[in-house]
């Protein structure tokens, strides 16, 4: 259906793809996998006309093509969900869904009634219920991903490409997504699927292509590729090594009697949070469970002073923090790794080095002058430890692969040596190798007395990583799981149970 051969693409200083051959067949789900920066997104962007290849040929439906713009590719029937959600934040959900192909009335004007009705129906089919007139920006990243999905499948596509579509989705949405993918497959559509979650790949994909450093190192049937071998291929190591390391998880030993390092009391934000209280002890990892829109990110933001609260207070080591001020929260030792790294995290035009040093700058300066030597050392350490793949510390962050941008952000906050670390989807889009490294690092910090609040849509990570899980629903704490009760099953049940006082059980 869609194939490339001998594809090469270089960016200044990096060879992102070299001699790549790849074929997506009709009625087949093809997994594309590789480490952060392996070239997956670049390959997709070449396929869809975002980038122009230096060498090589793209064949679509038997004849050579070269799309000059993503729009051309779309018109030709290739529909793509890019890694970084590519929608218009200020426009309504419905407008985004129908962007460029709005239903028209008799006068050629947009028929808003019909558009809203159809948008609502399309999303409902995916199990998402939102007011389609709301601007997209007001919704969480997960819902945005679902909107992107709805958009991609509602056009008459023959190839659907998904670059990490599940990175912010809950298990329930992932099920919906898979249902949609199976439907596409039955219709004879070719699906290209990129993800770092191996379970998903084995569940849904038929074929697999493994990329490493811009080259294809393996291609074949998904079911015939053993898991360990897949990881070994990705990382370019021996199977034995991978096995030996295993996938490190948080170990989390801490003093249950210790004074909490973070205490949030009765945090209330109108329409978002209603009296949320929680505490984190030094060395403890507390998970925040709940569905999309249950108020987890809002809780983290409120604690970090990035979301103005109507009432409630936050204490770090017993000392109240001035509310509503990010600098005050940071000075008190609270660091927040935000969910939306593209809009709120990275500073794309600055270098990797400047981005890592950004928040810690005042501490790395004397009399307002920057201490370059110390910055170099810190940047060097983190780039090595987190295996940040870049042409060098002076490369612009905007040019890094998605996972590597996430690592740069993590480095920024770890460099602050915070007392409390709020992690909103910390390993989203990070490859397996680096994921273990990140978890190990967090573990080490926890041993030094750091308290961690962890939000993750990866239930497994949440369960295994957390000592306790606080479950939120509609902005209210509905349950707290401790000790042996921290299991996936209990979490699911807590989420499913309606809290007292709320009428609608499946909202």
């Amino acid at each position: 259906m869609l194939s490339v051969s001998g594809l090469t693409k270089t960016f200044p200083g990096v060879r992102a793809l070299s001699g790549v051959d790849f074929t997506a067949r009709a009625g087949e789900v093809h997994a594309l996998i590789g480490e952060n920066g392996a070239g997956k997104s670049t390959l997709i962007k070449v396929l869809t006309g975002v980038h122009r290849p230096d060498e090589g040929e793209v064949t679509y439906d038997g004849s050579p093509v070269r799309f000059a713009t993503p729009l051309q590719a779309q018109h030709a029937g290739i529909s793509t969900i890019y890694q970084e959600v590519n929608l218009v934040p200020l426009m309504s959900v419905a407008r985004n869904l129908f962007l460029g192909r709005e239903p028209r009335g008799p006068l050629g004007l947009i028929d808003f009634r019909r558009m809203h009705r159809e948008a609502d129906a399309a999303l409902r089919e995916l199990g998402v219920r939102v007011d389609v007139r709301r601007p997209l920006r007001e919704l969480g990243v997960g819902v945005q991903q679902m909107v992107a999905l709805a958009r991609a499948v509602s056009v008459d596509a023959r190839v659907v490409i998904m670059d990490e579509p599940t990175s912010s989705l809950e298990p329930r949405e992932v099920r919906t997504l898979f249902r949609v993918i199976r439907m596409l497959r039955e219709r004879g559509i070719a699906v290209i699927y990129v993800s770092h979650r191996l379970d998903e790949l084995y569940e849904i994909c038929d074929a697999v292509t493994v990329l490493r450093d811009g080259r294809v190192v393996h291609t074949g049937r998904m079911a015939e590729l053993e898991r360990l071998r897949l990881v070994a291929l990705m990382l370019g190591r021996e199977i034995g090594e991978v096995q030996g390391e295993g996938l490190t998880k948080f170990s989390g030993g801490h003093d249950a009697e210790a004074e909490p390092v973070l205490r949030a009391e009765e945090l209330t934000v109108r329409h978002e949070l209603h009296g949320v209280s929680l505490s984190v002890r030094p060395g403890e990892v507390v998970g925040l469970g709940g569905l999309l829109g249950s108020g987890r990110s809002e809780t983290a933001k409120a604690i970090a002073g990035a979301l103005p609260t109507d009432s409630g207070r936050v204490l770090v080591a017993g000392v109240p923090v001035r509310p509503g001020s990010t600098p005050a929260a940071i000075r008190a030792g609270i660091s927040l790794l935000p969910e939306d790294r593209k809009a709120e995290g990275i500073v794309p035009g600055l270098s990797v080095r400047e981005n890592i040093a950004l928040a810690a700058l005042p501490g790395l300066s004397r009399f307002g002058l920057v201490d370059e030597g110390r910055i170099d050392r810190i940047v060097d350490t983190f780039m090595k430890r987190l295996r940040i793949k870049a042409a060098g510390p002076h490369q612009k962050v905007g040019e890094l692969s998605g996972g590597n941008q996430q690592k740069v952000l993590l480095a920024r906050w770890l460099a602050m040596q915070p007392k409390v670390l709020l992690l909103d989807e910390p390993t989203r889009g990070i490859d397996v190798g680096a994921k273990a490294e990140v978890q190990k690092l967090i573990d080490e910090l926890a041993d030094d007395g750091l308290g961690v609040l962890l939000i993750s849509s990866d239930t497994e990570e949440l369960i295994e990583g957390s000592d306790r899980v606080v479950v939120l629903k509609d902005g209210v704490v509905v349950e707290e799981l401790t000790g042996d009760a921290v299991t996936e099953d209990r979490l699911m049940r807590a989420i499913a149970t309606a809290p007292a006082g709320t009428g609608d059980p499946d909202d």
Partner: protein, 320 residues
């Protein structure tokens, strides 16, 4: 095959544009220097160079502040009016001696800068609107303080305007020193880094805990103060206060110098070396046209052409 070469050509064109954006301004200066050496009589004289340098000094100083404002993803349209306000204040306070008068002028610039900064950082007004308001208000105030042209007869001021050290005019020395200071601030201080981060991505800077408001206010205070200094120097050079015409269209010259020098209007980057070269380029362009007896309106057209070229080279380069 043709498509392959096409890919290469685009890559080459991108590289060319990038080079043009970064170094085009220096090349332009060199070309104009050479052309004038050949075609303009008496161009190669110490006296001529001194004149050129003295004329460029105020523009350059204003452009330094403008570079900071643009780097923070803003702009300062009030600089010309600040120069006018500055010259009025000098006439008003000259009775207390030249130092006090100059100080009053600079304080005036700082006050305007504070007003700009407060509107932008606290009220959330767009920089272009906020500084436009102060552009109008500033010139109005200048004319209220000093309704018409007035001679400035003060030996101190006269010395500042026409004195020199080893043949280098004070004006040029001051402009050069200020350029070095601003370049140092941008490159080496926490403030400089924070300014660039804010200009590149405001939400990210805010979440990273940067003092966004403080930085913005400092940016506009710097811009106001620098424009006021330029006003003082221009007054000293002209030995007259003319609040009606001093600094008119200065904001345009300054923006041109900054943009031509390779600082993108979208913020996040500041090129001081380029800004200096940009100011020199405009000055040389003007001289060239004047010396060859072309009407002044041609200068504006030439300036427009240069701006278009610069913006073309700096436009969001295709990501292909």
């Amino acid at each position: 095959m043709t498509e392959l070469t096409l890919g290469r050509v685009t890559a080459d064109r991108d590289r060319l544009l990038r080079l043009l954006q970064q170094y085009g301004v220096y090349a332009g200066v060199v070309v104009l220097l050479l052309a004038n050496t050949v075609f303009t009589p008496h161009f190669l004289s110490a006296e001529n160079f001194r004149t050129q340098a003295v004329q460029v000094a105020p523009v350059l100083i204003v452009a330094l502040g403008m570079a900071l404002a643009i780097g923070s993803e803003g702009v300062d349209l009030s600089v010309g009016s600040v120069m006018a306000l500055s010259t009025s204040l000098i006439s008003l306070y000259l009775g207390y001696g030249p130092w006090i008068a100059a100080l009053a002028a600079v304080i005036g610039g700082i006050v305007v800068g504070c007003a700009n900064g407060a509107l932008i950082a606290f009220v959330g007004v767009q920089p272009i609107v906020a500084t436009l308001a102060l552009m109008v208000a500033g010139r109005g105030l200048a004319l209220v303080l000093l309704p018409q042209l007035k001679d400035v007869r003060d030996p101190g001021m006269a010395a500042l305007g026409s004195g020199d050290v080893l043949g280098v005019p004070y004006l040029v020395l001051i402009a050069a020193a200020l350029a070095l200071v601003v370049a140092f601030v941008v490159r080496r201080t926490t403030f400089g880094r924070q300014l660039l981060a804010i200009g590149d991505s405001r939400p990210a800077a805010r979440l990273a805990g940067l003092p966004v408001r403080r930085v913005l206010i400092i940016v506009y205070v710097c811009s106001g103060a620098l424009a006021a200094i330029a006003g003082v120097l221009a007054t000293a050079r002209l030995t007259a206060s003319d609040p009606t015409s001093l600094g008119t269209l200065m904001e345009l010259s300054a923006i041109t110098a900054v943009v031509v020098g390779g600082t993108p209007l979208s913020g996040g980057r500041v090129r001081i070396g380029g800004t200096v070269a940009g100011a020199v380029l405009i000055q040389l362009l003007t001289t060239t046209l004047i010396k060859h007896d072309l009407p002044p309106s041609w200068t504006q057209i030439a300036q427009a052409v240069v701006i278009v070229l610069a913006v073309y080279a700096a436009r969001e380069r295709g990501k292909r």
